[in-house]
Symmetry: C2
Subunit: 761 residues, 2 copies
């Protein structure tokens, strides 16, 4: 159905004889159903504003208990929902936990209703039903018809401003609701404070302060209407309190310009004619309402919706056109949508004047870099940041500088683990900033002082308080009885330590190199030769009994089972192959992983793993296994990598709203697609090598920041021709199982000659 | 007793033959018992830090209801209490409502107890008993022996830093508790958020955000210990919550450097030897922890407690020595303590670099002025700001500039009404900023653009939403059924409007002059000729029935009864005299006021009025009557002003902790004392006249900012010689009932010849 719909959409272009551009192929609705957790709304590349519809108001808690229904709403939007609650300005792209959803705006016609209402009775509140047939989503632009009204809602964005355009299909009393309570992963008490000032009958400023995934989070706004409101009002939904101060003197519900509290909903009232549009520009700032007004003034003031929509399109074209891909129409949709998804986060996190809120909650001035936030590092160190080293090297350098600023502002003296909006949220494990840093240094993307980076990495990796790290440093492993998910931690620390080693080695810091070389070998300490798996150990040194390598629940692994996680030694695959019994046994282990069905019971309580994301027992829908298909390169049967990669590309990424088999995780799932569809993948970030697989594309050309062009071409490409017969580089045979970053950077042509049969061993 | 104690204190000075200085006469403990609501702790003149002991933890609410016991604790300290809970850094001086009490610090020895404990069982918590005999308070210095420990606690201050010195009288484990929950007028939920970072083992920063009298209030700190703590910890007293985020990974109670929540108490642990001292410097900032660190670095870092104590003394001497008074020892104590009290607020409200938080919650840079806060204007326009026009003209000009900044940042487009810490709290009535402005302009103290001031005053006075102002503008009165305390509002608006008129007149703005001249006559609209009193009117224009001019409860007046308030027409006393039936009847009205006993039932529910503050039916303990004693000047019997003023001076101001008969109200009660004891008083601020009374002093010399000297001398002064026989100015007879500000500013000598008998009519 969806596919057909896309075809219809593209029909006019085809009929007009125009060539479709990368922009045209992007479908922001892909991944909005169930597990993708991406949002369909309007944003510009790496923009601070993500203005997108939220389709429900599921709370994080019900009756004081975690509400598992909330998980679907990490990005605010679920494709199967029938109603839209409104349009909020901040969204994560693809995460598996959430926050944000700030400053929900909803237009209504007729009687004012200040509550959102229920999904099964949308008329009971300000929400509206909608149909996907009346929905249109492109990079930087989202449009939907709200059935109640009806009202056509359109939105676009600049870096820091969300632009709304509401066109009322009937004359009458209209309301623009500003819901300051609304949020994603909301719970009672999440709103710590909010503050609103009505400056004049066009302009409103304020902030929302929350205690959620980000513990101490502040977002400021300044909004301006294209038409003066004739009246406005506010309701404070906070329960009765004795202390409300002398503000009780005023009727604050009616045309009152200064409001503060925990649960505010405002409405701005207009009379509209049929077909009349009201535009709203809402600027955000991490600093202050003054900062938001500055951003409004410098980015959007005086421009119409259509002008700003055109600017957003131009920004997207400029980024998306960096890569030109040839392939099937369906693959182009997948490819360019993946490309789009990799340009959604981290996001810019500073005002136009370079001021931003730091981890210490102080306001800092970014000097010589742009500050970014949303570092989902457990996910994104794997392929997204390596992808940036090819396609966005300057931004990636700024992201590393942003991480360093975080480090300098950290009372814990640590680089970010999972950080958003001037907060460390400590989600997941490891200290994978060091991988991002090591990869950028190895690939010569980072141009600054490497010694500073090494110092920060070492300080981070020596923080004994952090997540079992004291035991890890003392024993080389973490007792599962002292710190759960202990094996995952050891395996990832060992890899991260190898990354630090590469930095020390480059700088000739022998002591540090030695220390972290030793630490990088700790993966062997959690390998149980008897069972043949990575296995948790206890304080007494023994391996945990009652161990099931298939189970993801409470077995010493995080969001994964031992079967998958036992393959996580990206920095020393030869050692891993030896541990698992040599090449033949290792190959058999991989075969079993892909072939044996994993029953639901082994992962049904792990939110981030679902049936859709699994092939056999291989879990693609979550990150720890993303390198695994490439491990056949270390066996005799490297052609199996080609088989598996193509299987995954076709099985796990689809056109259509359900097109992502798991959380996109800030672009990591999409970055896997981009690399793999081009025929190579960074199995071990921090090294300069990409392991070869099997390209899906017919060709890809990347326009590098250094002005050069790197391209991948295929000969004899086809759905059945998944095996690589021959590789040439610059016309010469290339017989390695990898290519290097230097090759890409030098520009040139990598040609894969495809075949329908595997090569002879 | 207290008197005797003071005598003992001063004995060494007398024995040494030294002359006591103004500094020596100040007794910060005066007014700390019951109603004065001043604090005894350490501060510098107009300093941002008021580091003072809090003697209990009375909450604003008990079981969801207002707790009347809290009223005594407006300044945190009550003289009759037996325990000290700790030392917090911010206190109002003399207010009748409260807030603040930020960052309570308490030293303990022995077992750690993190709760404050109960007054009747101090051993149950960290509080300690203390005795007044072990207490020593001077300007800028406070010392007390904490019985538990025992520990000698000393404190001093700079503009923005509170300096603690704790000397442990026993060796053992010592703890410095930092209670982030504690506050004055606290209630459950008042702490909106708090945030603490331990930077190193000397340094801690953080902030406290509250929703109290100030609706959206943030105070930042940076503290540094003189000795590294060997361990620290924190308890979050917030109840169980589902959502605590991934911070649950960490044991945040123990040596954990980054803390946030609503109810945090921290402890810093040391081993101390007997007699060892630990010093703490705690800097505040309205801006950020970075601002607090800046203030710490620029004001106190590297200096010892004793050095900073000496600096504080020097600052006080420099301010207090501006006035030299001769009189009885007891009067000197009252006089210089009053002088001290008038230099406690408004307080400086900006970092050392001029940055401050504005009413819009944005950070502003003060350019060309210093920013002040705590404007208790309903009180202080009467005599405190007029006093500043003599003794602190530069500061008063900066205060007006601070008010103008408030106006520019106000979403309500109003000058401050009652403002503190970047908040308008809307306490009390009127828009008395205009009086402060008009008085400074009339007296040529304000050197800037007067047109800007007038614009702000007019905009403020035309805000129809404000407190009955719409009706006032339409009808000339406010219906009591629509807005309570309506008569007080009309009378005060009328006076304020007269102030605005004077500005318009000066600038030749005839239309505005006319508009506000008319408004200034509105006092006549609430005068009921039948009863002979100011009396509330209703929407239909009729006077309210069931009217009792003696009652302060619900009769159309705020913190006063009609009997007192009917005399409030400071800008047109001749008209008032006529309304009340002419000079003779007016005099009789005044006589009755001073002579007739007012039974308790008429004021027992009005917190700000107590028996101690009443003479007959004249209420001196609260502000609305402060001009009344001077009104005899408009009768034939002006000598009765002399009688009443001396009566009030002697009856309402005493040496000793109970020495203030009512709230000092940020220095207004004390400013009344200073003026009246010198023999004149600003009955109508905004005019340049001071009405003459009866000086209590033998002589006073004021060293003016312009380098000139103004002095008052008396001849034949004595306790019985309360009548003024003759006044001379510069040696020539002065026959007016007033002097002018220009006379004071020109320098010179005003001589009162006193007599024991009233002059002949």
């Amino acid at each position: 159905m969806r596919h057909f719909f896309l075809f219809l959409l593209s029909l006019p272009l085809i009929l007009a004889g125009q060539t479709k551009t990368p922009f045209d192929y992007v479908d922001p609705l892909i991944g909005t159903q169930r597990m993708g957790h991406v949002y369909p709304g309007a944003t510009v590349p790496f923009g601070m504003v993500q203005l997108s519809p939220d389709t429900d108001t599921i709370p994080y808690e019900v009756n004081g208990k975690y509400n598992p229904d909330v998980y679907k709403y990490c990005a605010g939007y679920q494709y199967d929902d029938k109603t839209i609650v409104g349009f909020s300005h901040t969204h994560f792209s693809g995460t598996g936990h959430s926050d944000l959803g700030d400053f929900l705006i909803m237009p209504t016609l007729g009687k004012l209703q200040l509550n959102p209402g229920m999904a099964d009775n949308p008329l009971s509140g300000y929400r509206s039903t909608f149909s996907h047939k009346n929905e249109d989503a492109h990079p930087g632009y989202y449009k939907v018809l709200l059935d109640e009204g009806p009202i056509v809602a359109e939105m676009t964005a600049t870096d820091r401003v969300g632009i709304h355009k509401y066109t009322f299909q009937q004359a009458g009393p209209a309301h623009i609701i500003l819901d300051m309570i609304h949020g994603i992963y909301n719970y009672d008490g999440k709103n710590v404070w909010s503050f609103v000032q009505v400056i004049d009958d066009y302009t409103v400023v304020g902030y929302r302060q929350t205690n959620g995934w980000a513990r101490t989070r502040l977002v400021y706004f300044a909004m301006r209407f294209s038409k003066p409101f004739k009246h406005y009002g506010c309701t404070d939904y906070d329960g009765p309190r004795v202390y409300r101060g002398f503000w009780r003197k005023f009727d604050q519900s009616d045309n009152f310009p200064e409001l503060a509290g925990k649960k505010l909903r405002l409405h701005f009232d207009f009379d509209v004619t049929r077909g009349e549009s009201i535009e709203i520009q809402m600027a955000l700032s991490p600093v202050s309402t003054a900062g938001a007004l500055f951003n409004l003034g410098s980015e959007s003031s005086g421009k119409t919706f259509d002008e700003l929509k055109a600017e957003a399109k131009k920004k997207w074209e400029s980024e998306l056109n960096k890569v030109t891909m040839e392939g099937s129409e369906s693959d182009k949709v997948n490819f360019y949508t993946a490309l789009y998804h990799t340009f959604l986060s981290p996001i810019l996190y500073q005002d136009g004047d370079g001021k931003y809120r730091g981890l210490d909650q102080n306001i800092h001035q970014a000097k010589g870099f742009k500050n970014y936030t949303i570092f989902s590092l457990w996910d994104t160190y794997r392929a997204l940041h390596p992808w940036f080293n090819i396609i966005q090297p300057s931004r990636n350098q700024d992201m590393i500088r942003s991480m360093m600023a975080h480090y300098q502002q950290s009372a814990m003296h640590m680089l970010p683990v999972w950080s958003h909006y001037a907060n460390e949220n400590w989600c997941m494990i490891g200290y994978h900033s060091v991988s991002v840093i090591a990869d950028a240094v190895a690939k010569d993307v980072y141009k600054g002082n490497v010694q500073e980076l090494l110092d920060a990495c070492v300080k981070t990796a020596r923080n004994r308080r952090y997540d079992g790290l004291g035991d890890y440093m003392d024993k080389g492993y973490i007792p599962e009885d002292k710190s759960s998910s202990s094996v995952s931690k050891v395996l990832e620390y060992a890899y991260d330590d190898w990354c630090i080693m590469t930095l020390a080695k480059k700088l000739g810091k022998y002591d540090i190199q030695k220390e972290f070389t030793e630490r990088s070998r700790n993966f062997s300490k959690v390998f149980d030769p008897q069972s043949g798996y990575m296995r948790p150990r206890l304080s007494d040194g023994s391996f945990k009994q009652d161990f099931d390598p298939l189970d993801t629940h409470g077995q010493g692994f995080i969001e994964g089972n031992s079967l998958n996680y036992s393959l996580y030694v990206p920095h020393d695959v030869p050692a891993l192959v030896m541990m698992l019994g040599g090449k033949a046994k290792f190959e058999k282990y991989l075969d079993n992983l892909f072939d044996n069905h994993l029953p639901d019971k082994y992962f049904e309580k792990t939110e981030d793993i679902t049936r859709e994301g699994i092939i056999g027992s291989y879990v693609h829908g979550n990150e720890p296994s993303h390198h695994i298909a490439y491990l056949y390169n270390w066996t005799g049967s490297y052609w199996k990598t080609q088989e598996k990669v193509r299987l995954i590309l076709n099985n796990q990424y689809r056109n259509g709203p359900d097109g992502l088999s798991g959380n996109d995780d800030c672009g990591q799932m999409s970055a896997w697609y981009l690399f793999s569809s081009m025929g190579f993948y960074p199995v071990c970030p921090g090294s300069d090598q990409y392991m070869l697989g099997s390209p899906l594309v017919e060709s890809v050309t990347i326009h590098l920041e250094n002005g050069k062009t790197f391209s991948v071409k295929t000969k004899n490409q086809g759905p059945q021709n998944i095996y690589v017969k021959k590789v040439t580089w610059q016309g010469f045979p290339w017989n390695e199982r990898y290519i290097t970053h230097a090759m890409i950077q030098s520009g040139g042509e990598l040609v894969f000659e495809m075949d329908s049969k595997p090569p002879k061993k």
